[in-house]
């Protein structure tokens, strides 16, 4: 009895001490790890869009994840958390986007523009085309300065426009109301349905995590980037893909995370492989061993990268065209 008690005590003691040590190390290391991750992400976003000097997260299509990404983009000097509307609500309300450049309000609420989520369930197809013009208007004038809030909208689009703009104006100043509005915006189903449409065409299952819009010094959109998850040989491959919406060509692809075999599939991270995607047309087939050179000994990984990019491209394009950003 005393023996076994001693066993338990010693084992418990060692486990407790180890736990304490690990908790201490984790507490010290996790902020650095997070920082590294955010820095790597911000660096990757700008790297895949060579023309861009800053970027903003494209929200309202990705729903809940938008909030977390908006906070992480705070490290970028020009942390504009731009949020755009989906086509349906744009046609109803006429609001398209409102941007808050005040860094504090940008970090507390990811999405500042809000619209009536219930009205979003109107005719999707026509609304999407309507919304395209409406929200382009909105985006071009959506940069807000000095923490004061303002919001612009395509007033010509709808009679309801004025009320909608006051709504989002209060949303930008008031942190709490902004966050509630943001949630209602994320429930709008337009973006989700667009992405399901995009994937249904191909057999590859991809998950576009976040989309970014690259801005030049004058605030013009000069590129689009998105982070995407796809299935590789050993597990998930997360990539950052940059493209030029005007020329319809990829600018750069970067592998952020992967679990491929070291020395073989892991070579998808090397420039020798990724270089071939630069300036590749969005309309190409993206088939390994055909228009994409596969890595010797890692055909599956190479194909996974190509197929993931292809599937994600159609999804992102459908999605962004519906939102009028493209």
């Amino acid at each position: 009895m005393r023996d076994s008690l001693r066993l338990v005590i010693v084992l418990g003691l060692i486990a407790t001490i180890s736990g304490g040590v690990l908790a201490y190390v984790h507490q010290n290391m996790s902020p650095i790890i997070e920082e590294n991750r955010a820095a790597a992400m911000a660096e990757a976003i700008l790297e895949v869009m060579p023309k861009a000097v800053s970027y903003e997260v494209i929200t309202a299509f990705t729903g809940g994840s938008a909030l977390a990404d908006a906070t992480s983009s705070g490290s970028v000097a020009d942390a504009t958390s731009g949020s755009t509307e989906d086509g349906t609500s744009a046609s109803t309300d006429g609001t398209s986007a409102s941007t808050a450049t005040d860094s504090t309000s940008a970090s507390t609420d990811g999405t500042s523009a809000a619209t009536d989520g219930t009205t979003a369930s109107t005719d999707g197809a026509t609304a999407a085309t309507d919304g395209a013009s409406a929200s382009t208007d909105g985006t071009s004038a959506s940069t807000v300065t000095d923490g004061t809030s303002a919001s612009t909208d395509g007033t010509s689009a709808a009679t309801d426009g004025t009320t909608a703009s006051t709504d989002s104006a209060t949303a930008a100043t008031d942190g709490t109301s902004a966050s509630t509005d943001g949630t209602s915006a994320s429930t709008a189903t337009d973006g989700t349905s667009a992405s399901t449409d995009g994937t249904s065409g191909s057999s590859v299952v991809v998950d576009v995590v976040t989309k970014y819009r690259g801005l030049d010094a004058d605030g013009n959109t000069v590129g689009i980037a998105f982070a995407v998850d796809g299935n590789g040989f050993g597990g998930n491959i997360r990539m950052m893909v940059g493209l030029d919406p005007v020329t319809r060509k990829l600018t750069k692809v970067k592998v952020l995370d992967h679990l491929e075999t070291p020395g073989l599939g892991a070579r998808i991270t090397e420039q020798a492989f990724l270089h071939q995607f630069e300036n590749k047309s969005l309309d190409d087939a993206f088939t390994a061993k055909n228009d994409v050179d596969a890595i010797t000994g890692a055909t599956v990984s190479s194909q996974a990268v190509a197929a993931t990019i292809k599937a994600a491209l159609s999804e992102v394009e459908a999605d962004l065209r519906a939102g009028g950003i493209w």
């Binding site: 084992l11 060692i14 190390v25 650095i32 590294n36 790597a40």
Partner: protein, 217 residues
Amino acid sequence: MKSLRKEFLKGLWDEHPTFRLLIGMCPTLAVTTAASNGLAMGLATTFVLVCSSVIISLMKDLIPKKVRIPCYIIIVATFVTIADMVLAAYFPDLHKVLGLFIPLIVVNCIILGRAEAYASKMPVFHSFIDALGMGVGIIWGLTFLGIVREFLGMGSVFGMQILPETATSWVIFILPPGAFFTLGIVVGLMNQINYVLERRKRERTTGSVTAGQAVQG
């Protein structure tokens, strides 16, 4: 002092953990696709090996015999997790390359083997030297395998291209079978060298003996 030197040197050749004792084969075969991977894995393993050996040696009187293995595992796992987090925090690129294999150090036979066979019986400083010797052995072993495989498989060493791009590289050497080929040849070579050394030594000693016998005869 002489015994300490012997403790250190035995890990480098006579009791080389991977090439002579043939333990810890999993990371040896899996991560040595490139020289830098082998080196990094060797360093991480050495860190865990040295730290856990010292702690286990310090606690050897406290740990009851019946639960010694769970205790060792907890201690080893703690250091592995620390190494994992520190690598992720300060060397994110390296951590990305080694990824999966870092947590696997917990079940590396070398570490548990040294804890069981040496650190649990010997004084702290001896354990430290022994672990350090074994660690250096692992480092050179994995790096050497990595250099050979990377050179034959990709024509480069530590990422630097040595053979011209046009030269056909034997990709099989960075594939899993190549790990077995390389390891087998290296182990065979080491055995051969030891055999030759042994025979020379024996010839020298027995040579004088037979000479003496001849005189007697």
